[in-house]
Amino acid sequence: MANAWKIARKSNAQLPLVIVIALAIVLVLLGKAQSGLFDQARARVTDWMAPALVKVRAPIQGFDRFVGSITEIFSVYEQNLKLKEENARLRQWRNVATVLQTRVSRYQTLLHAVPDPKLNAVLAQVIGRASRPFLQTMVLDAGKQHKAMPGQAVVDARGMIGRIYLTGQRTSWVILLTDLNSRIPVTIASAAGGSGNIQAMMTGDNTAMPVLDIVSRLTTLHSGDQVVSSGDGGLLPAGLPIGTVVEDGSGGWRVALLADPASSQDVEILNFSQPPEALPPGAQLPAEAAGLKPMVTPPPPVAVAPPPPKPVVVARPAALPPDAQSEETAE
């Protein structure tokens, strides 16, 4: 038996090295063509590990806090001063925001504005994190059972963290905004309020601050400009807070993220699916609303005698208020 085993091992000489290397290269190319090659296996493994991850989550979190507190203990005094100053500033801003909110509400009432649709959200906990050289991800305890789907945005109390790219039955993998594979269309609102909104693409490169690729080269950015999701493509809702613009020192621009994926524990998965924009009914078209007759395509000319000329009728708004009509009649 020992001989047979020995012969078998030798005769297989196992796969020759060249073939194995070729197989590995084929796998790389196959993975490039079909990036979700291992997704099912990954999702199943994570689903299987989920209960254990939930159990070890608390001690790991405690250890992280302990280590974090050791490093921060020397800067407590400075941080306290900074926080007090920031708190005073934020109180002023809260008053401004309250006044502006009241004003916006009044305008909305006057304009009969339709409020933005509320987003459905699933609350999830972070049960795992992985920071690999080519992948920065976190694992959530919500999956297909909770209606989590790939592409949905993941946010915490401060801002957007990333989006889901793989869902199992009970778990989801989140691709962070800092990841090499992350590309998000964003809108940059100038803090100075000068040049309006700028469209850009935010690309992760595995550093803490993703890169901004400005679509238009004629625009100028300023440090401190606000970055929010643009909603282009319909995958993400528009206006999700992401971060602020910072200069990277080499002429480029990066985004200092508001959210901190390393410390986020409870997050929301936003269930956003933009419905296709429907055409308004005829009565709501701007021309109709203005009281004008919609333009109708004229029928093909028929060889008949021209009709007698009719008196010219000036179009008039049909829905004028009674007093306005009476004024017009009086004139």
Partner: protein
Amino acid sequence: MAALERPGSSAALRIFGALVPLFCGLLGVFIANIPVSILGGAVPPPLLGLVPIYFWCLVRPDLMTPAAALTIGIAEDIASGGPPGVWTLAFVLTYALVARQRDSFAGLSGLVAVVGFGAAASITCASAYFTIAALYWHFPPLAPILSELAMTVLFYVPTVYVAGMIHHRLVGASRSDI
């Protein structure tokens, strides 16, 4: 009866012993890729799956075969969540290098042995880095892959100590039979 059972059980033991290096590699991959980040993700996990490949490629190349290295690499790709095939190619290329220079690597001892493993791990990380650069058509930042390399070398000594113990207890016994 006992005499009849002995050959079968010893063959099963040998098969088990032959599969131990592969299992150790898979276990290393599994442990390294548990998505639990201590220190807030500041440091990446080490490539624990690489240590059994290196160790048994030197000690028992008949048990750590190219196919086993390929399997461990695929497991690393599945568990790490990165682009498919990157770590597979990196592991297989490292295996090829170590297999070609087996005599040189096997003769190292002490701190120099760690340096030898560091060289092998550098090949792994460099392969993965350049594969990613080719896939994405730009060079990713160097710091994360260097951290990965440093962590892998740092964890080499305890991991190879465990691998050595496993080898002596489970694999080494059947060494003379093959």
